[in-house]
């Protein structure tokens, strides 16, 4: 009985640590700029290198799992590939808290009504769109990204621009 109580306490403490670790500091961020699907399409058309567009939301648990991967990818390939985040069906406070927590250091847009993923035909959240130079859609990944999928698609994008 004592053993079971100790195991239960260890588990609860570990889980409690997971709550306590969330930051309250929003890092003094400004609200994310709102954008329509037409404006977003025009924005992508003006980018002369491949682009990875990740659709996320602060309430989306799988988005938390893939955020560190996107951070790694943007720091490794940020010179060759543009990374953009699109926060959907969210509120600005939640969005800023999410960004402060994961430090996703690339441009993000706010899409309250989910126009952008609907425009490009993505399903659910998260979604990652892979665009060639000037906004040509190359691939869509619905659901959580794993390292292999992201690395392979980046490899494919780099071959387009070389």
């Amino acid at each position: 009985m004592l053993k079971r109580s100790i195991v239960l306490m260890v588990i609860l403490t570990a889980c409690g640590g997971a709550i306590a670790a969330g930051p309250d500091d929003l890092g003094g961020r400004e609200d994310l700029p709102e954008i329509s699907s037409e404006e977003f399409e025009a924005h992508l058309a003006g980018i002369d290198r491949p682009t990875v567009v990740n659709v996320w939301a602060s309430w989306c648990l799988p988005c938390r799992a893939e955020a560190p991967l996107l951070n790694t990818a943007s720091s490794q390939y940020g010179d060759e590939i543009e990374f953009i985040g699109v926060d959907v069906q969210d509120n600005q406070k939640g969005a800023k808290k999410f960004l402060a927590e994961f430090g996703l250091d690339f441009d993000h847009f706010f899409d309250r009504n989910r126009e952008i993923p609907n425009f490009y035909g993505g399903i659910g959240t998260p979604i990652t769109f892979f665009f060639g130079p000037n906004g040509e859609l190359v691939n869509t990944h619905n659901g959580i990204l794993d390292e292999r999928t992201l690395a392979l698609n980046i490899d494919e994008l780099l071959s387009l621009s070389s």
Binding site: L12, A14, C15, G16, G17, A18, I19, A21, G22, L61, P62, R64, A65, L69, T72, A73, Q76, E101, V138, N139, G143, I144, D146, E147, R148, T149, L150, A151, L152, I154, D155, E156, S159
Partner: protein, 224 residues
């Protein structure tokens, strides 16, 4: 874990079950129950650890433990599965030797599950058997199939090894680590892969092969 990955996991369990039929010699009673139970326990532990590393509280999101959408920590899952298996076997370490070939075969099945997921391809290659992703012109190594063939071969080799305490289990762990380590450079990766875990598996496998016969001789000579 996406549902396609769940298919890969189920393929792995099915292969492990097939392994228990192929190498039934000296297997404990009801090995399938233990293997499936250990796999489920390993997935649960791996999922809980993954949630905690992603700062998701399992107490606030209990359904997310079952609806595995955010990944499983493979190292924690492996440790959890082995501990659960030993616990179900009443800490009889000989059972690790008995099921080592079936476990390797199951791991081979997990890798072959890439065929269901459409996730077999790795880095670019000009070899004749290299294949391209749909819509792509770049042919690539079918790296997960290399791993599957390597692990299935290792399962067969381990099944032919002599019965000595921890020898088969150690060889299986070491070979799994070596095969993953050799195939890792062929996987598309951002981080280089969990190479540390593979090296640890090889080291622990080697230690088990060295330690097993000594433990066995101590058991024989120890006063009762």
């Amino acid at each position: 874990m996406e549902f396609t990955l769940l298919w890969a996991a189920l393929t792995g369990v099915a292969f492990a079950w097939a392994g228990t039929k192929l190498w039934s010699e000296r297997l404990p009673d009801h090995p399938t129950d233990r293997i499936i139970g250990a796999a489920a326990a390993g997935l649960a532990v791996g999922r809980l650890v993954a949630m905690m590393t992603q700062v998701i509280n399992p107490l606030l999101h209990p359904l997310d433990i079952l609806l595995v959408r955010g990944g499983v920590h493979s190292g924690a899952a492996t440790v959890g599965a082995v501990v659960a298996y030993l616990w179900a076997s009443k800490w009889t370490i000989e059972f690790l030797d008995a099921t080592a070939p079936a476990a390797l075969f199951g791991l081979a099945g997990w890798h072959a599950g890439c065929l269901w997921r459409g996730a077999c391809l790795g880095t670019a290659s000009d070899l004749p058997w290299a294949r391209a992703e749909p819509g792509s012109l770049i042919s690539r190594h079918p790296v997960e199939l290399y791993a599957a063939v390597g692990l299935a071969t290792a399962a067969w080799l381990v099944s032919r090894m002599p019965w000595r305490l921890l020898t088969r289990a150690g060889a299986a762990l070491g070979l799994a680590g070596i095969i993953r380590l050799l195939t890792e450079p062929l996987r598309p990766s951002l981080t280089g892969g969990p190479v540390g875990w593979y090296i640890a598996a090889i080291a622990v496998g080697g230690l088990a092969i060295w330690l097993g016969p000594r433990l066995a001789s101590q058991r024989i000579t120890a006063p009762t």
